[in-house]
Symmetry: C2
Subunit: 270 residues, 2 copies
């Protein structure tokens, strides 16, 4: 992406967040939003309203770009640039009144995520990872440069996963193998974990069952902070990935985690 394109993307991201945040805040902890019906319609209502607000911005600003959203699917699949939107990542947090849900935005250039945004509407915390005109990726937290930690040893790492319930039986074996080697583990993070990793607060994340709109925005955020994020085989994350994600604060820690779970990860391929 050229320098001019880079500046333009920053501008569009600001417009997207100006559109999404008020809608998320307006629905959070409202009686409607916390009604739990079998079809989860109140949650979908907030999801759809946020995604629609963001789509309107993109359609006005960059009508030639593609859009992949959690709620409304893919349009413009052949476009060189595709925006990937997850209006509410952390649905269980959202419907439980926990302010740890986020809005995720990714921009793909020829299938490669060149921009990633993790925005926490209720916390006022935003991570933006972006590749510049020269191909260098960097991450900013609330506007200031941020960096992942220095942990290189599994035995010193804090491992995060959103829930033990996200894993199949074979994936659980992988997770248990890895967490047995770590200093501590904590559940309940969703996208926020990747922001915490990018700011140096936690070291390692292992997840499964993620969708492209869940994981593509995380890639520039983690990589721009000096971390590493791949699937469980160490491959780059793309639109076609399995949804098994491993993120680490340092290349050494990532390599140690990959080595630790190697055989079991193959057996757990979806």
């Amino acid at each position: 992406m050229s320098g001019a394109g880079y500046a333009r993307v920053v501008e569009i991201v600001e417009q997207l967040l100006a559109a999404s945040r008020p809608v998320a805040r307006q629905h959070f902890r409202t009686p409607l939003a916390v009604t739990r019906k079998a079809d989860c319609s109140p949650v979908t209502e907030a999801d759809r309203a946020i995604e629609q607000a963001m789509k309107a911005v993109l359609q006005a600003e960059v009508p030639g770009h593609g859009i992949l959203g959690e709620e409304f699917g893919l349009s413009g699949a052949e476009a060189r640039y595709i925006w990937v939107l997850d209006p509410i990542d952390g649905t269980k947090s959202f419907i439980s009144g926990v302010p740890l849900f986020g809005t995720l935005i990714a921009l793909l250039e020829d299938g490669v995520p060149v921009l990633g945004v993790i925005d926490m509407p209720m916390l006022g915390e935003t991570w933006i990872g972006q590749r510049d005109g020269a191909g260098r990726v960097s991450t900013r937290f609330n506007g200031a440069s941020c960096h992942a930690g220095r942990c290189t040893e599994l035995s010193e790492a804090i491992l995060f996963a959103t829930s033990p319930d996200q894993f199949t039986a074979q994936e659980t074996r992988v997770f248990e193998t890895l967490s047995a080697a770590c200093a501590a583990r904590r559940f309940g993070g969703d996208c926020y974990s990747y922001g915490l990793l990018a700011s140096g607060h936690i070291d390692l994340i292992l997840e499964a069952e993620l969708q492209p709109y869940d994981y593509l925005a995380l890639v520039p955020v983690v990589e721009g902070a000096g971390g590493v994020i791949t699937d469980w085989q160490g491959r780059a994350l793309t639109l076609q990935s399995s949804g098994q994600v491993l993120a680490a604060a340092t290349p050494a820690l990532h390599a140690a985690a990959l080595a630790r779970l190697a055989g079991k990860a193959r057996a757990a391929l979806p």
Copy 2:
């Protein structure tokens, strides 16, 4: 507690929170506080600093009262009034940069918790449950009256637990039995879950391995909001309880949960 005593307690709570909050905020996400040593000393440093600040208030204001703190143990065990302090509940959140840790304050009168405070320093959210001069207990969230939800059926309930790792093998069987009957479950709450329950956002919490300074403050908060909180046998929580806690938004939901786990809960008694 008399009406005059009631007003006095409110005053002391305000002083305690004015003392604890700045210390918690100052230590959160500092390089020192997130260093993970084997002995966890940096966390203890924040814990100790907060507890010391609160103890200083109590020693100046009510020198005849007892104090039980997580860090400095029990003093004045024979006093009619004992303050129970947990400077940082949610240590893993705290050291991971997650703003879901809280400060807990309880006041016991003849062993009965007549005041409970859940304060979330980074979120600016505070629940205070208090018994008034006439023995009625009520809960306020950031100053406004708050109420638990109306859920009476396990099949509609969202169940919270801080972590599956808090349970023994037998306790895990109890937890699995209960969660199999619920609509959804989420991990990673600590004291915040009980505030969410008191405000009507979640319905059910099952935990184990809690200490008196973890659970005593929760009792007036949950009861004052119309909820029910007991041990896994349905007994009131006291300084001598087992640390197995069951909280529900309504008496009917609590009864349904107790019935569901009855046989297994007996087998899991510590």
